[in-house]
Point group: D2
Chain length 419, copies 4
């Protein structure tokens, strides 16, 4: 990817335009990577860029074109190679071995994208898609936006495995001054019964529904996320050596993984690996690439706690969604503004809430019912979106989720406390 700004969000809100925009955005994110870069997979949880390019295409092919139109698969075997985890549509390639697929090569995958794009656009032009098909098309667009974020976090992880520590793009964002953390202010909320989740208007994932009432006790929430400077203080205070600060599983992870600081930080706590290569650590920027265990331990050390997802959503409801998203082209958290109103963007914020079904949850009908529901175990909800999230993708009710040890996302934290 060059230094050029990310494709601006289109004003044309037709399906054709939206589809074209999202698909182009994905292309742009991978445009600066070599065929070899696009092949990299350094752990089972992360996937090669090429696989993301193909899998998002497979999604449209499988759930829109094949189910609703007279269409033939682009190539034999792609149903197997590029199915992620949908048992309902057939068996799939081993997740940990996605990086071993040299054929199809990148050029073929790009042709695959063009082929499917053309078929979708043709169907749209002919009004050939039913409401159900269009709903799956919309799901596919949001799905692709999720993979746009993963393209960035996964390639960052993969390039970090290279001892040369190469940058993702040739022309980097301008360097940022380290700065200092603005003072931490708290906002108080009284006990209330609040409506949580997405209502039936507009797009939302099945896991955001049904909208339901929750009794949320009084609490206070920090006005900004925890910064690098604050977290560095925790590291220097020996936070990684005090078992009493940690959840039991967290302490085990610290010991077995040898964690001493956030993923990507240098040993001297002065710099970190970014999509632009090794860069000076920005004191006033939100700390990121933390596991849930680290976020939780920091909060305990700070005499606070993580907010529940209900507390977070309550604070976020009716808030303007502005912030540092992928659209800024920065691709890294930015310093927190002194008067920031920054619940969205920069870093995903670990909540205290395990990812479970809302009361009355119903998985989406059909094979896409596997999209969210089957992961409702051993994961924690994160909220708010990050510097790698498309701005158009995020909502106050949006529930991201990762296992507690995951560190390769742009994941940070915001403090809460009982009122």
């Amino acid at each position: 990817m060059g230094s050029a700004a990310i494709v601006a969000c289109t004003q044309d809100n037709s399906w054709a335009a939206r589809f074209a925009q999202v698909r182009a955005q994905t292309e742009q994110l991978s445009a600066g990577l070599s065929a070899e870069d696009c092949q990299l997979q350094a752990m089972p949880d992360a996937s090669p860029t090429k696989w993301h390019l193909a899998h998002t295409t497979w999604f449209f092919e499988t759930f829109v074109l094949l189910r609703h139109l007279d269409y033939r698969r682009f190539a034999a075997g792609f149903d197997y190679l590029f199915n992620s985890y949908y048992h309902g549509v057939g068996p799939m390639h081993i997740r940990a071995e996605r990086g071993l697929i040299s054929r199809p090569d990148l050029a073929t995958v790009r042709r695959y994208r063009q082929h499917v794009d053309a078929a979708v656009q043709a169907a749209l032009a002919q009004d050939a898609l039913s409401a159900g098909a269009l709903a799956l098309l919309e799901l596919g667009l949001h799905h692709e936006q999720q993979h746009q974020e993963l393209i960035l976090t996964d390639i960052k992880h993969a390039l970090y495995a290279n001892p040369l520590r190469p940058a993702y793009r040739a022309t980097a964002a301008a360097a940022t001054q380290p700065g200092t953390s603005p003072a931490l202010r708290w906002r108080r909320f009284d006990e209330a019964i609040v409506a949580i989740g997405a209502d039936e208007d507009g797009f939302a994932f099945d896991n955001e529904r049904p909208r339901h009432r929750v009794l949320v006790p009084a609490f206070a929430l920090a006005e900004r996320p925890v910064t690098n400077a604050e977290y560095a203080e925790f590291v220097r205070a020996g936070g990684y050596a005090q078992p009493l600060l940690w959840l039991s599983d967290g302490w085990t992870a610290v010991q077995t993984e040898g964690w001493q600081r956030p993923l990507y930080w240098s040993k001297d706590l002065q710099s970190e690996f970014t999509l632009d290569g090794e860069r000076e650590l920005i004191a006033a920027a939100p700390v990121c690439h933390l596991s849930y265990y680290e976020a939780d331990a920091f909060a305990r050390w700070a005499g606070a706690r993580l907010p529940t997802e209900f507390e977070w959503e309550r604070a976020a409801a009716n808030r303007l969604i502005n912030g540092n998203f992928v659209d800024s082209g920065r691709l890294h958290p930015a310093p927190v503004a002194a008067d920031g109103d920054c619940l969205f963007g920069d870093v995903w914020e670990w909540t205290a809430s395990p990812y479970v079904a809302y009361p009355g949850f119903r998985p989406a009908v059909g094979a896409v019912g596997e999209y969210n529901g089957k992961f409702m175990c051993n994961q924690i909800v994160l909220r708010g979106g990050s510097c790698a999230t498309p701005a158009a993708h995020i909502r106050a009710s949006y529930r991201n989720f990762f296992p507690p040890p995951a560190r390769w996302q742009f994941s940070g934290l915001r403090l809460a406390r009982d009122a």
Copy 2:
């Protein structure tokens, strides 16, 4: 242990009598085991009987005698060997290697128990324990009751590793007729704001507090647990071969662990390993030794779901605590009565609720603050007690917790559904 009944709950409610009763109960549970039996550890999660005997004693020695009296440890090294996970009081032996401790031998551990018992009783006789010390003594008694249950589940697991499949005790409980499952009835609950957790009167673990209000939507709860007959139907219907029935992590466990049926069931689904050795499967008894994944999959297959812990507690509040506990001497789930009012006993019931802190949770003060709070991640709440739980130990607000894959507890399920 012989076939004799478990020591009856004493009527004398003095500290001295309660202490003596609980300690004697532990001795009785291990009385029929050889020194070699008491040494067995077949996985890191389970501990040798001898270790349980010593650790529960270490608890009183460490938190009551050493902190509040002029007392010297019984023997050097025991602080290290028999500390389970309390970093606040010092380092500890490797959990997975508890079975490698042949010295001290069982006879020495029994002397250790007598030594500590005498010191505690002397202190009680002299009124030498402060209110704080007595609170820790009480905690120690509940702690020991938990280990009484673990003695049974852990030795069951360890003896199962022996291809001869020996029985835990010489004289078994009388055999039970297989019977049939009574019809399943449902009880409906309307939406309500309910008080959850223990109030400040009487003993409860820190994780049951503070009592707080929760908005619980309307739901229905089965009047009895799922039985062996019902679960066998799920097995025969191919439940373990249908990925769409399982949580993603559950399906992974099925594949990697090769699960085909509950732990301890024979391949032909006709018998199961019990503390009395191999026994015919009782159709009408609650199914047990299920992981959370299996409980969840069964519920999905049955068109229902697991109850939340709030739903369960709401149904259990004000219910009489009767049921099949360790006190019956049966040591195995009993057939469900047709008109059963059986929320307690027989099997721990997996809920749908991850184990997290209640709003306003404060860990107990001091090193015993590590007792519960640090495990609030990657675990699921179970409710109700089992055939291995002392009757005096259970409460409607009691929260047991185990990781989703755990199968060696007497863990079963009860169905719920949206109203």
Copy 3:
């Protein structure tokens, strides 16, 4: 690689010509592979093609150019990335992570090769290399020929990880008729004291020296290798299910790896994966892709044994080195001729001899002393070269070696028995 014949061995025996020929051969072997193919690594023992291209170049750069000339490294970091296992020259990249190096890309590695080639040729043109430097240059050429074979075996292994089972080259060798195994004849040798190893004339690896005398008892050696048809009979006879046929470690490998037939054979024993993709199994061709354990078990089943490396070398001494080498372009074992005199080529033959030092062994001086000696443990000697070995590379005294479980080489066997 196209179907074109491999570059013919040059008649010009100058250093410049030999260097150019060997280097060009390597290029040709990788010419048909994409950048993504060249990145593949499906197990730690095998390396990506790109890594082979770079490492062989690093060898000349490190041991010839940097040690003997005024030369600067082509690029920073390459000393680390492309050092295989020479602790004497510095630390090195993790072997299992060679497939995670997307940068330098393939084009850069090709430029690296050209750069080093030019420097070597310039030095040769100016007679700037001492005798010692020329000895290292010669070692480097033989080293590169070894990697030529590994390029083929490693890419075969990596492509096999792709469920599409793609072919290594676009234009395959002509198909071969299955045929039948020619009758097995034995050749008898009387007891003798024989000279084993390479004499001081000409090139040989240090592990082939010193030439020394060995008392070899009388024995008989099969005139041809074991064929696919014979091995299939062993498979069908249940050879993989009879523990008494196997070495103890071999039986463990069969159990834990689930071996049921040679690597690359189809389940129905009718076809096998080759560098030309899936092909019919040729009954009369030597069986290959066997571990030592399988070769040993087959020999026991056949009432015979594997030959020692001394028996093999005695039979091979003074024999003409003709056979099916990489030069034929076939890249797969060919049917055994009825009157074959075929000790060389087609398949490496497992001997019964662990790889140890000859009496008086001295490792080569300097860092290249790590080339052979440090592997003299837990490996078995193979003899004779294969269909992937350059004809100019093999000798009667040549000692190849792999660990007993290795299967991804073109490794087969020849029977021996006591006379």
Copy 4:
């Protein structure tokens, strides 16, 4: 075991007396251990004392009593539990889980021994055993002597897993003065064709036969083993940090296992764990508990090498077998005498020879053919016996063998060099 001397070798050479003596010796070695001690297994390679007691009994029951007499097994299931690795007689319990067998208990195993002893003695008294049966009886006695050594090395290993580091016996051997290593003298041998292996007279294992001629080049052999003082010098010189001193697999073991010194040595190199507990390191005693890798690395550091097993046997042939064996009751290597003629006893000496078949090797007939032959891979020959070997058990032709990483035997080394 008390401090009493080991049972003296009987003068009565009848089968009955020999059988009684060997069996009693085994009992005596375990007499001082508790039932819990006898249950310990801290790694798959080592077995519990109780298992050794039972397995050696199983050997006589299976190969002598059941095959040659009208005899019924002592108890059901023992054929499965106490079969070590003889596939020819049936399936067997998992090796790594021998420590999980609490039933039968130790008392039952002792009765098992008495039962089988009585049956064997009755058969001997009635002359009921054929020559073939007597040959298996003799094999069983040598087999039991091997397990006597393993009882000691295995319990040493298991007790070391206890952080209290308890002693094997109540009354220890008298302490030894550290002393200093006597000067190292070398003995030179000219090239010769020597007869290697056991002739057909007297007992020997099948792996010592057939006796055959080997051409052994000239060499020199150290007159004594390497001492603790010499090895400590290697440790202090940084031997464990210099990859160039190590075989490749050895260096990997150093890295992955974190080896820094011999097993059982204290970090300050001043003491070591012995069967009498922690004791001061005796400078002049042979170093032991080395892996092959460490022995090999030391030899390289010392400018020497390990002897081949042929060199060793040549030096040992016709040498008087005296030395520090288990019979001394010392149970630990003793200081090397200045004028020592000490090829036997104290420590097993790693040779440079992988364990392979002698030319013309034929495994013993029947199921005991699995005794030795199937281990002829991935193991190295050790020679000479140790302080835990019965004196009557060792021979110049005796070939012990262990995998290169094994450290829990009394294994040391003797230097050799080319002449």
